[in-house]
Amino acid sequence: MLEKSNIPKKLAKTLSQLGIFLHILSCAFGIMYFSFPVNSFIFDIFGVILIASWILNALILLIDDSYLNKSTVIGKKLNRLTYYNIILFIIGLLLILWGVILTAFILDGLLLVITFLMIIIGFFGIELISLQLALTTFLNIDNRGVCKFE
């Protein structure tokens, strides 16, 4: 039987593990998609993984905020990482959003290439910074004093 106090710890561990898996998968699919941008059932799976990984990143941020012991050195560093994650996530999202809007109104040329680059940079930026957060959370969860699950 799981002790009640162990449930948040288990949950955080599972979510960060899942986050690592989904972000890596999402990056792999992203490379495939940007190399061969066709409409396919395979990429339907990619779409679901993509949105799930973003939601998971938000959940990991919430868990880190709730259980992180910010008075320890590692806790402090991890807390700082969550701020970077939030800011870069927003910048990445805005890059993708503007890229998507602009591609709808540009026929061809350099400007179109720039908008595609905006989308690609935004996507990989979000995925990599989210992967870093999930990985750092997972690796530090068992370190004594980093998290306050009790």
């Binding site: 998609y33 941008p37 066709v38 409409n39 396919s40 059932f41 990429f43 339907d44 990619f46 779409g47 679901v48 993509l50 949105i51 973003w54 938000a58 941020l61 919430l62 905020d65 969550t82 701020y83 939030i86 800011i87 996530f89 927003i90 999202l93 805005l94 993708i96 959003l97 890229g99 998507v100 809007i101 591609t103 709808a104 109104f105 026929l107 061809d108 595609f116 989308i119 996507f123």
Partner: protein
Amino acid sequence: MYVNLNKTILLKYLKLLLAILSFSTFIIGIYFTIVLFIPLEDGISSSFSFFITQISGFLMFLYLIPTILLVKLIPTIKRRSLVKKCILVFGLCLTFLNALPLIATPISIQTAENEFNIAYGENWRAQIPSTVDSYFLPTQFNFYNYLLGFSHRDCNVDTDVKYYDNDGFQLYFDVYYPKSTTAQLPGNNSIIIKIHAGSWQFGDKSLGNVLVLNKYLAAQGYVVFDIQYGLLDAGGSSFIPTPDHVRGNLTLHDMVYQIGNFTKQLATTFASTYNANLDSVFIMGGSAGAHLTGVIGLGYNDPYFAGNFSNALNIKGIVPIYPPNFADPYFTHEPLSRLIPGDPLSNPLAFEKFTPSNLADATDPPAMIFQGLRDDLVPLINAETIKNALNANGVDCMLLTFPFAAHASDLIVGNTFSQVWVYYLERFLYLEQ
């Protein structure tokens, strides 16, 4: 010590800045969410509603992440936990409300399925060979097209081809056509004439006429003619880019005449230049362009427009996108009243003939209509009237409705509405060609 103090102050200000930015996002979020659900009269809100409904999936993340940021920025002191919870609940509410257009996608799909089942029978997918189906969108909606832009194959584009030079007006079109002339593509070189939106006063081909869809359809084997037509210059201004050379003191008769002129040149010259199939022609347009699509597509065989269009075109279908239907009241108030000389009493025939539903008869081509249910500029009743008129004459007319879609909700092709729309549009075009 001094450096540490500076760092602490810097961090404090940085956190304050982040808190202000997060609160600003909340305030903008509240306004955008109101615009998403409630039609507001002022021009700016109306313009915002065109785009907000199409990007609400992005906005929901843009509200969710600052919510977490704000929660983090409030120090964990017992008496402040209620504030934290309130912020969290409020942010999650904003996020959820902006997710509703995405959540409502199955409703649009079900409506479209029902319309197709009625028009082509429940087994309509069997009429599309798998070799053809492989060119189409595999599913009605997917997240990658929504979040990373609508993917499409490449095509050829010729821009600014002149088709009209008369009365001081020079009009041009862009043509999108397949790269390969040998591949057996679903479009079979069928022609699509695209007429842009802009309340008969503004707008242009290309940028203002959903060019991603033009490219997508051309890559499928269609020859898409994205045309300009003369516009009424009533002196107003708009955020919609409009070339000066197409504006003048024009009426609807002039516009239909100019487009009729295009059909004649299409038959004599352009069809052979671009290897386009005159025996399979579709007319498509949004808003004002949808009105003209209705007038031309349904009035093609009407004696009122006799001699205006080329007889060589075989119109297989029309695609009005959020179409205005009623000449009265649309053309009875300034400045649009200038589009039809006189009024419904002094010039009843013109008002009758520029109401597309009045032109419906049994020989008309089938239609597929896009209609947003949150469209406060052109409400649902317009599309319903056209559909009922065609159905009453035994002509298929599929009305695809989209909850939360405002006017011009098809501009960003990867959005929730457009993906469903394109999925059924490409199948409609194939089945009717």
